[in-house]
């Protein structure tokens, strides 16, 4: 799908800040409010904009710190459907936050979130590794998130400029 320059700008603006109001966006793009609404709707309906969500630093919330693991999974692809069928079986679990088909030493990269290491370990041993096509799993727990989806968690963005300059 080829986007116009304005549509592309809308995607870029919303990707940076999904809470940008339509009014402000209309001004930024030199469009009327109605024109902007139509374009946003079109982008949403065509699933170019899939969802609006916030990036949350759960480690800051007492009692909700949670754990995230990245699991390298080797699987046997099936004739006719390749990796898609097993991928779907895996991504339907609500514990799975992300799933990617990878090139290289393993096939699927599964990002799993749970309340504790135990919970994630259970998911891997009970649900994931017991699937027929799964040959092996290697689990890596994330120790600290520095940057996620292009956002640095502890960013010092103080304005260091002098107040008035020529």
């Amino acid at each position: 799908m080829k986007l116009t320059e304005k549509e592309l700008e809308i995607v870029e603006i919303l990707e940076k800040d999904a809470r940008t109001s339509t009014e402000d966006m209309a001004k930024m793009l030199n469009l009327s409010l109605e024109e902007t609404e139509v374009l946003i709707k079109k982008l949403e309906e065509s699933n170019v904009i899939v969802q609006y969500s916030a990036i949350v630093d759960w480690s800051k919330i007492a009692g909700h710190e949670g754990v995230t693991a990245m699991i390298d999974v080797k699987v046997t692809p099936k004739r006719g459907v390749g990796f898609d069928e097993i991928a779907e079986r895996i991504y339907r679990f609500k514990e799975v936050k992300a799933l990617y088909l990878m090139s290289g030493a393993y096939d699927l990269s599964v990002v799993v979130e749970g309340k504790s290491m135990n919970e994630v370990a259970h998911f891997v041993s009970d649900k994931l590794s017991t699937l027929d096509s799964v040959l092996s799993t290697t689990t890596h727990f994330i120790l600290k998130k520095y940057k996620h989806d292009g956002t640095i968690f502890e960013q010092n963005d103080d304005d260091r400029r002098i107040v008035v300059s020529p």
């Binding site: 800040d17 940008t20 402000d24 030199n30 400029r161 002098i162 008035v164 300059s165 020529p166």
Partner: protein, 402 residues
Amino acid sequence: MNKMMMTEELWCLLNMKKTSYLSKTVEELKPSGIRRFFDLAAGMEGVISLGVGEPDFVTSWSVREAAILSLEQGYTSYTANAGLLELREEISAYMGQSFGVSYSPKNEIIVTVGASQALDIALRAIVDPGDEVIVIEPSFVSYAPLVVLAGGKAVTVNTKKENDFKVSKEELEQAITARTKAIILCSPNNPTGTMLGREDLIGIAEVAKKYDLLILSDEIYAELSYDEQFVSLAAIDGMRERTILISGFSKGFAMTGWRLGFVCAPEEITQAMLKIHQYAMMCAPTMAQFAAVEALRNGRDDVEEMRKSYRRRRNYFVHSLNELGLECHTPGGAFYVFPSIKSTGLTSLQFAERLLLEEKVAVVPGDVFGESGEGHIRCSYASSMEQLQESIKRIKSFLERL
């Protein structure tokens, strides 16, 4: 003994006669009006500043990292007077690709300490005592003082909002005398944001050719043009030979604090400027030069990102100001808007001072950029969207109270 006393007395007498150690030129030079405003704003808490003449972006990490690497590798000595050849080659390629102008890295480019130093050595290289240089106002605050410091006389040509602050051929011609040596041009412009198109430049070029003048073309904001392709004066037919092209990394590449600019001109002029540069400056800072090499090699996508971001904010800000009844044209470049505040009945200074004291929004009164800036304020939209939104709210409540 007697003779000795005489000499001492005479010496004291001579000393007493001296009223100041300072040069007359410097004594007569007025401090920039911006300074006064800075002092006022700097002491206040919670100020939203639209008074900043520099990007709100921090220099790209890859550029900063390149400077760190150069330090780690021990590149801490002088470079060639004109700058690292490697950097001059990158500048030459960049100017060719981006603006279609061709300068030899060997003898037509000097890397300077900011575009400001480029301007200084350019003026000192061409001005004899009493020579006149035309400054088109409203203008960047340094032009006229630098002309005076070079021993010349700054002749002002005023532009008007009705003409989008563009100078006409006739207005220029009226200011030309037998002593006129050069014109200083700045597009996109600080403080008005006006960008001159090809046709405008052709008109100015005709005047320069007719009266055999040089043009110092300050193209520091060239990367920040939003609606039309930027045209360099040196790319206009027959102008390369009479153009001193001044640019740098401060604005487009968000590198103000690195103090790195450059100047491109025909060999004869460049070599004259190099004489001044080698005695007065030796060379630009080495680590900044290494950073600039990286900026030109791998930083141009970042410039494009920043350009787009400024354009959105410009559109937002111009729309919002016009909604508030502060009329302004949509400036084609830089990151300034220069709205008229005449409808309020206040002078620029009154408006700016009251806005700062009552609503804590700092803008720069237009008259610091020359008489013709009176009745306007300069707002920089190189601030976060949140700050711009908040400043619009505050300006609105200020206007409602007037």
